[in-house]
Amino acid sequence: MVAASRLAPGLAGRLAAEVAAHEASADALEHRLSLARRVVAAAESVEPLRAGLVVGSTALRRCGARADLDIVLILDDASDQPPFASCDIDGVHVEIERLTWLEALSLTEGDGWTWELRSGSRLGCGVPVFDPDGCATRIRNRAAAQRPDPERWESTLRNVYLGLAALGPRPTLGREHGEALRGVFDNLALLTLLSRPRRYQKPKWALADLVHARQDSLVEAMLECYGIGSGGVTATGAAIDRTRALINGLYAASGMPTHTTLIAMGHAPQFAEASYVSRALDDAEDLAASGRPLESQYVAKFAARLAAALVAPSDSSESLPDGLDALDASLAALYRDVFADASAPRRRHLEAALACADLLLDESALPSGSDAARVSA
């Protein structure tokens, strides 16, 4: 089996540079951590704390100057203080969450899938600013020991292999096969991130976290299969505009509110899936505005795939655009427009996907506490 992780100087290298350029500087990080220490010290004087953690974008060093500072206070027992509070200190908006020690243990326990693992990882990847008894270290170890649900994990990896086995024997690969390969790469990205401490946060951070996990060849192949070759303003704007047109068309055909309305609604449990799609497109716009064009294009195009999957018949074995064709040819044309820049996949893309799948399979065979498992994490 071939190791999936190797240095790729092309697109993955450009993306790595893009991600590194947006990491918070050591000074900015230290400034935010000192603010957090002040907040935690003030809390510790009035309530018995076990630990204080900085979580979220600051802990992962991807906070901008205006990003919220998220702090989790871990207490012995429930406090008289409200579980959620916020304040502004030195121009930084601070969000405080209180958890009991039992709640923190419960969030970092057992197998799970995207949501459960993300909740555990939020604490596990936190930076302790107050930890007299080593509770934060214990939480981090527990979160790292959590595993993706074995049945769903196997089923997803199975689909990856079956997808590759279906594409492999074809003498030539056409652009229409790119759709199947994008599905394979989406699943590989999900499995790869679920198996690592940061887990799968959301589409916005998928590429940055894959870069962090040194999955260069996976990232390279993903970007190529998504037709992302240029980090230019035109290409980024086109990806967002085409996806917005598709999403609004799909929403209108399904009788849902427009994208803008869904974003304005905020939390919209009655349109949970569509709301997730719209937030992904919103994130793509935010990434573009922050000077992260490659990630922005990926997130916009991924949002298009999510949106099409919402509407296309779920029992259909056809590809997403073919499924849309059956509903409305103009929607299928809009979808194909989103991926107009993607060329036909090459055999090396299949090989990169196979290497990544084999790496995941190898890792899954390792006992969770083994040295090799820890190194791969």
Partner: protein, 140 residues
């Protein structure tokens, strides 16, 4: 037939051939195949010519459920083989041979009055008929 393997072992030892156990097994299988080829009448051998092969044989396959689904390890090998050494990839020359075989058999079924038969097809059909007659005479 274990004697063949034993004989090869003795030969390997006495002549210091340095054959591994796997190579000894291969040699044994090769030897057995050669014996089997010698022992069978020519008529029982499969024809190498696709036209003659298609004239007398058809392929039948059965699809049945597995006792257990392929494991992830097996799926990995399956996908790897499909990508790197696909068995189902057929060379253009083979397709041409298959087309010729299909054309030849359809002509045979249609009978001698078919005008679409090409001169080369007719020649092959004639050759196939002679060969079949010869094989029929040889068969017990």
């Amino acid at each position: 037939m274990g004697e063949i393997f034993h004989a090869l072992e003795v030969l390997n030892r006495s002549m210091k051939l340095g054959l591994s156990g796997q190579n000894l097994l291969r040699a044994e299988m090769g030897f057995k195949s050669a014996l089997a080829m010698q022992g069978n009448p020519a008529a029982a051998r499969l024809a190498g010519d696709p036209v003659r092969l298609a004239e007398r044989y058809e392929l039948k396959a059965t699809l049945r459920p597995r006792d257990a689904k392929l494991s992830l390890d097996q799926l990995s090998k399956f996908a790897g083989q499909a990508i790197k050494q696909p068995h189902t990839r057929v060379a253009a020359a083979t397709f041409k041979q298959i087309d010729q075989a299909i054309a030849a058999t359809s002509v045979t079924k249609a009978g001698p009055a078919t005008k679409a038969a090409t001169p080369s097809g007719a020649k092959k059909r004639g050759a196939a008929k002679v060969a079949t007659a010869k094989m029929a005479r040889k068969s017990p």
